[in-house]
Amino acid sequence: MYFAGVDIGSTMTKVVLLDQAGNLVSFIKGPTGAEHRQLANDVMRQALEQASLQIDDISYIVATGYGRLNVPFADRQITELSCHARGVSNLFPNARTAIDIGGQDAKCMRINSGRLVNFVMNDKCAAGTGRFLEVTATTLGVKLEDMGDISLKSTKKIQISNLCTIFAQQEVVALLSRGEKLENILAGLHDALASRVAALARRLGIEPDLVLTGGVAKNIGMVEAMRQNLGCEIFVPEEPLLTGALGAAILAKETHMKAAGAGKALPATSRRLEKVTFFNQEYR
C-alpha cells in the first residue's frame, strides 16, 4: 500500500510517495508550467517510475498547493497550510512555528500536536515573498541558487530603502553603479525580505522551535538574515520544498487508514494518468 502527496506551487510541482509504514519511497520536483494538469501527470509518472510502482499501487492521493484543483487523479484536496504544518511536524516534532517563503507568497503557521492552529500570510505584495529575491537577482545577473553563498561574504550593511520590488530593482542597479559590492547588496536584499517576513510572523507570535521552508529556505543568506531578524534558532529541512507534498502524503495515509478502519468505501484504484488538458471536457 502506497500513498502520494502532490503539491502544485506557483513555480514548482512536488510529489512525495510514502509506503504503508510512512517511509519515503520517492520524491520528485519539477517546474510548474502553465498547464498544471499535464505537469501533475508528468511529475507523478516520474515519481512512480523512480519507485518502480504503477498508479494503481497508490491507495490514496492528496493534492495541495495553489494548483491543487488541477490534479485530476487526486482523491482529495487539502490546503497547503494544513499540509505544510503536517509535513513540518513530521520532520521536526518540536516545531511550533513554521514559516514558508515561496515564489508567490509567505505563510507563517502556528502548529500544535502536528495541526495548524493559526496562520498569517502575505500574497498581496511581492516584496514580502521569494519573488523579491527572484526579481532582484535577475536584475543583478546573479543565479538564485548562488545568492546565499555570495551574500555571506558581505562586510558592510546596506539598507535597501525601497519597499516595492520594482523600485528596489532600480535601487540595486544604482547601488552597483555607485560601486557597492555585490555581496553587500545581496545581504541587504536578504535583510529587507527577512525583516518583512519577521514582521508578518510577529503578528502571529513566534514560539520555538521555528522551522523555515519553501524555496527561500535553500538560501543560506536568507536563513542567516531570518535568524538575525527573529533572534532565534532556525531549523531547515534537508528538502525545504517538499514539506507540503510530504504533509499531503501523510494526510493521504491517515485519511485512507481512517476510512479503512471505519469500513468506509475507498476510492477507486482505476485512476488514469494519461495526458489531459485544460480544454478536455471530461475534467471540466
Binding site: A34, A126, V135, C164, T165, I166, F167
Partner: protein, 265 residues
C-alpha cells in the same frame, strides 16, 4: 523682462522649461537615463537653443524632482510638491486639488485659494500606484508607452487584476496573454486598476473641485478618463501635463526670495 529656468529630473524623464517672467516660452523633455547630471546639461543646452538665448540670459534656475541634486547649475532646489502646486496654479488658478501621476509615485496635493499647499499624500512605496505599473505592463505587452493610451481606448472589456502588486500584476498579464486576452483589454485593465488606487489616494486628502491632473501619466487619456469615472469628477488637463513641476520650478525661480511663501522641504 527676465528669463528663468525650471528643471525637473525625475526617475524616468527629465523635463525643463524657460519662462519669460511667468510665461512659458519653451520646454524640453528627455529620458533621464543613468546619468542625471548629463541629462540636466542636455536639457539646459536644448532649452537655451530653442529659446534662442545664451546662458547669461537666464536670471535664475530652480531644480526639482528626485534627481534635483544633479542640477549643479541651479541656484536653488525646491520640493516637487511645491513645484507641482506652483505650476498647476499658473495654468489653472482655480484648481484646489492636483493629481500628479509620475513614474516613481503618484501625489495628490490640496491647494488653498492662494495656490498654497495645504495637504498632500503620495503613493511612494508601491509601483502599483504609480505610472510605473503602466511601464511594467507595456513592457510585457511589448508595446511602446506612447501606444498604451491608444490601445486601452479601443478595449471592449477591460480585465480585472486579482492583485494589487505590480510584480504579481506582471505575471497575471502574462497569464492573460497566454489565455488569448487582447492587448487592448489588458492595457485598459491596467488603467482601471491604477485609477482605483489613485482614487483611494485622492480620498485620503479628500477631493475638492476643481481638480487638475498632471505628470507623465496624464498623457494617458484613457487613464485620465478612468480616474474621472472613479472620482465622478471632471479633471482639468493642462496641454503639456508632464512639464508642470518644471514650470513651477521656473516660477519659483522668478519669485523673489522674500515673497516665497512656500516652505522648502
Amino acid at each position: 523682462m527676465t528669463w528663468f529656468m525650471g528643471i525637473d529630473i525625475g526617475s524616468a524623464y527629465s523635463k525643463g522649461v524657460i519662462t519669460r517672467d511667468l510665461e512659458l516660452v519653451v520646454s524640453h523633455t528627455i529620458k533621464s537615463g543613468a546619468d542625471y547630471r548629463k541629462s540636466a546639461e542636455i536639457i539646459r543646452t536644448e532649452l537655451i537653443k530653442k529659446a534662442n538665448l545664451t546662458q547669461n540670459d537666464i536670471a535664475n534656475a530652480v531644480a526639482t524632482g528626485s534627481g534635483a541634486d544633479n542640477v549643479y547649475f541651479a541656484g536653488q532646489k525646491a520640493s516637487d510638491i511645491v513645484c507641482t502646486a506652483r505650476g498647476i496654479s499658473n495654468v489653472f488658478p482655480q484648481a484646489r486639488t492636483v493629481i500628479d501621476v509620475a513614474s516613481q509615485s503618484t501625489k495628490v496635493i490640496r491647494l488653498n485659494e492662494k495656490g498654497i499647499v495645504t495637504n498632500f499624500t503620495a503613493s511612494e512605496k508601491c509601483a502599483a500606484g504609480s505610472g510605473r505599473f503602466i511601464e511594467v505592463i507595456a513592457n510585457v505587452l511589448r508595446i511602446d508607452l506612447s501606444d498604451f493610451d491608444r490601445l486601452a481606448a479601443r478595449s471592449t472589456s477591460p480585465i480585472t487584476f486579482n492583485t494589487g502588486c505590480a510584480v504579481f500584476g506582471e505575471s497575471e498579464a502574462i497569464t492573460r496573454i497566454s489565455e488569448g486576452v487582447s492587448k487592448e483589454d489588458i492595457a485598459a485593465g491596467v488603467n482601471k486598476a491604477l485609477a482605483s488606487k489613485i482614487s483611494s489616494l485622492v480620498n485620503k486628502v479628500r477631493l475638492e473641485q476643481p481638480c487638475a491632473i498632471c505628470g507623465g501619466g496624464a498623457l494617458n487619456t484613457s487613464l485620465v478618463k478612468a480616474i474621472e469615472d472613479k472620482l465622478k469628477a471632471r479633471l482639468l488637463m493642462p496641454s503639456c501635463p508632464q512639464i508642470i513641476a518644471a514650470l513651477g520650478a521656473a516660477i519659483i525661480a522668478a519669485t523673489p526670495p522674500a515673497s516665497q511663501s512656500t516652505k522648502q522641504t
